[in-house]
């Protein structure tokens, strides 16, 4: 746990990361409290006048209405739930598979490791989006199918990252010591190697959530989203097909900005975390002048308290 405290200490001094975190939190908040925040039920069948269709924003409908006369703001608020569900679940799946593959390939190496890494290369070479399109159009549309497809195709980079870390960690002396105390391989992986790669996986997970959200939005935008749910991608799809010719910008822009908002937050937060935990991206502590000053100031403050 010490390592997470350490990461938090560095993280909280990075404005970029904090902004990203707050951005993400705002979306999580909206998704959780959607029923209280949304002014209308987005699925409610309402009687509409012909003039309500694609009505521009007014006091009752802050973001106007869509082509069926439904409130755009409410759809946007509920859409956060779909995006975050897809993002978190698919990313968790990817992280789980990627970490397992990376740990096994890195630790055991040899033929198993080689086979696994060739599979990774193979999957990496195929462009994700066209492959997802093909699978979804063959398999059918549905929220869980989309989550599965994104989750099952998104683990390759994580596997490589974890493997490269494991390759370096397993040469360190405390791993030899763990073998010398009579520990078996599963124990060494779980107790000694996994805790070392966990922070890196965490940073990678945050970045991969944004990837998953964008993938879901792209699929929905291309008309392969779950037809029973309103997601941001789906809204874009409808708006693009039906509203753009009528210049109904209030239907097109909000979901676009929502996607940008959440992915920007995740990327800001994820890259800050990655910068902290990934040794390759870490700048030398001597170059980070501000941190050193802060450290010295903190220390003298401590000393004063002790005295």
């Amino acid at each position: 746990m010490e390592q997470f405290k350490e990461i938090w200490r560095t993280f909280r001094r990075r404005p970029m990361g904090i902004v990203g975190g707050l951005t993400l939190l705002s979306v999580v908040f909206v998704a959780i409290f959607a029923p209280w925040l949304a002014p209308y039920d987005p699925d409610e069948k309402i009687d509409v006048e012909p003039g309500d269709l694609l009505a521009p924003p007014d006091a009752g409908h802050l973001l106007g209405r869509d082509d069926a006369g439904k409130d755009v703001l409410s759809q946007l608020i509920y859409g956060a739930r779909v995006s975050l569900t897809v993002g978190f679940v698919a990313s968790f799946m990817s992280m789980f598979i990627g970490t397992t593959v990376g740990l096994v390939a890195g630790y055991y190496g040899g033929r198993i490791g080689n086979a696994l890494m060739r599979l990774v290369d193979f999957l990496m070479v195929i462009p994700d989006l066209p492959l997802m399109l093909v699978i979804i159009s063959l398999w059918g549309r549905g929220l869980w199918k989309i989550i599965l497809v994104i989750g099952l195709l998104g683990w390759t980079y994580t596997a490589r990252l974890v493997r490269s870390q494991v390759l370096s960690i397993k040469e360190r002396q405390f791993i030899l010591r763990a073998r010398a105390i009579g520990a078996g391989s599963p124990r060494i992986i779980a107790r000694h190697i996994f805790p070392q790669v966990l922070p890196i996986i965490l940073a990678e997970a945050v970045l991969s959530i944004s990837g998953a959200i964008i993938a879901e939005s792209s699929l929905s935008f291309l008309g392969l989203g779950d037809p029973t749910l309103i997601s941001w991608g789906m809204m874009l799809n409808f708006a693009f097909e039906r509203a753009i010719s009528r210049m109904a910008w209030w239907f097109l822009l909000p979901p676009g900005f929502a996607i940008i908002w959440v992915s920007l937050g995740l990327v800001l937060m994820g890259s800050t975390l990655e910068e902290i935990v990934n040794p390759r991206l870490k700048s030398h502590h001597l170059f980070d002048a501000r941190r050193m000053v802060a450290l010295v100031a903190g220390e003298s403050a401590n000393q004063r308290v002790n005295e």
Binding site: E2, Q3, G109, R172, Q173, F174, L176, R177, A178, R179, A180, I181, G182, A183, G184, R187, R191, H192, P195, Q196
Partner: protein
């Protein structure tokens, strides 16, 4: 029979193109209970490889070519994992699963640069408890009581068990590793360069601790070092290795007072004599380097650097012969 007997152990390292480099050749020694053996020699002459080979902890490129490591456990009654039966085994013939039960439980090793052998992200106390729980089948409470005992034994306050390795000083980490090595009350402690990179005060503390443990617990120690002062202080027997082979093997008194192998003699001369420093105005050194593993001399390994070689030395490798009971030398010059 002795507690541990290593017979004709040979270890090769395989290179990428498939050539085998002979890192250790035909090394034999034995270790009695409560005695200690010093393994000395320059860097790169196979000391650590011999130890790792014994425990089958060689890196992936290492191969044990031949030999036996016979170990007769005396105290299996205390090790539930070994079934409580004393028996004699050849460690090199055990299955990996069986072997794991002997590691640390009966033979513990403190590695070179032990300060790096602690996992930086786990509490020191938890790490010392790990082998106890692994081998002793005890619960967490019993294990942490034992951790407190062990830390006191090596002179670390028990509160430090909750700290992380980076909060320890180098000497404390070394002592924590020694505490960990004693966790399962092993018969044998292998200490690989236990005092390198430590200042003289801490060195003395660690060595005192070893002697103390040996008297108190009847521990047998194998000390891998190139510090002859340390060997003189602690060891009963000395094995001098050169180029992966045994150069000389005898009791510590014999090695220091009547060394026969030219390499041992030179090593002794290269060491300052604290009692009569005036007698040696300058320290001798041995010109040259130990042979690289991929270009070992055809005959005696020491021949290129030897000062009393003859023609045969360059051609034929000298066999290890007993010149007296308990004094073995591998040199053509001392055959008679």
């Amino acid at each position: 029979m002795a507690l541990l007997e290593v017979r004709n152990l040979s270890v090769d390292y395989l290179t990428d193109d498939g050539t085998a480099l002979h890192a250790v050749e035909d090394v034999s020694f034995s270790l009695e209970q409560a005695r200690s053996l010093g393994l000395v020699g320059e860097s790169g002459c196979g000391k650590t490889t011999t130890m790792l080979g014994m425990l089958r902890l060689l890196p992936a490129e290492g191969r044990i070519v031949s030999g036996e490591v016979r170990y007769r456990s005396l105290q299996n009654a205390h090790s539930p994992r070994l079934g409580g039966v004393p028996r004699e085994v050849d460690l090199l013939r055990l299955s990996e699963r069986e072997m794991r039960k002997y590691r640390w439980n009966r033979i513990a090793i403190v590695f070179q640069g032990a300060m790096n052998a602690l996992n930086p992200v786990r509490r020191v106390g938890d790490q010392i408890a790990e082998p106890i729980m692994l081998h002793g089948a005890v619960d967490r409470t019993t294990a942490s009581e034992r951790v407190v005992e062990l830390l006191e034994l090596v002179g670390i306050t028990p509160e430090m068990a909750r700290q992380y390795p980076h909060q320890y000083s180098g000497g404390m980490r070394q002592r924590a590793m020694t505490a960990m090595a004693l966790a399962c009350s092993p018969d044998i402690l292998i200490a690989d360069e236990p005092t390198t990179a430590l200042d003289v005060m801490i060195q003395a503390q660690i060595l005192d601790l070893f002697q103390h443990l040996q008297e108190q617990l009847g521990l047998s120690i194998i000390l891998v070092t190139h510090d002859l002062g340390v060997v003189a202080e602690i060891c009963d027997d000395v094995l001098v290795m050169y180029g992966g082979r045994t150069a000389e093997y005898a009791s510590v008194d014999t090695i220091y007072n009547e060394p026969l192998h030219p390499y041992t003699q030179r090593l002794m001369e290269a060491f300052p004599d604290i009692d009569s420093p005036a007698l040696k105005t300058s320290l001798a050194s041995i010109p040259g380097y130990p042979p690289p593993l991929d270009a070992l001399p055809a005959g005696c390994r020491f021949e290129p650097r030897c000062y009393c070689k003859s023609d045969i030395c360059a051609v034929e490798s000298p066999p290890l012969l007993a010149v007296k009971p308990g004094h073995y030398v591998a040199c053509h010059q001392v055959r008679d």
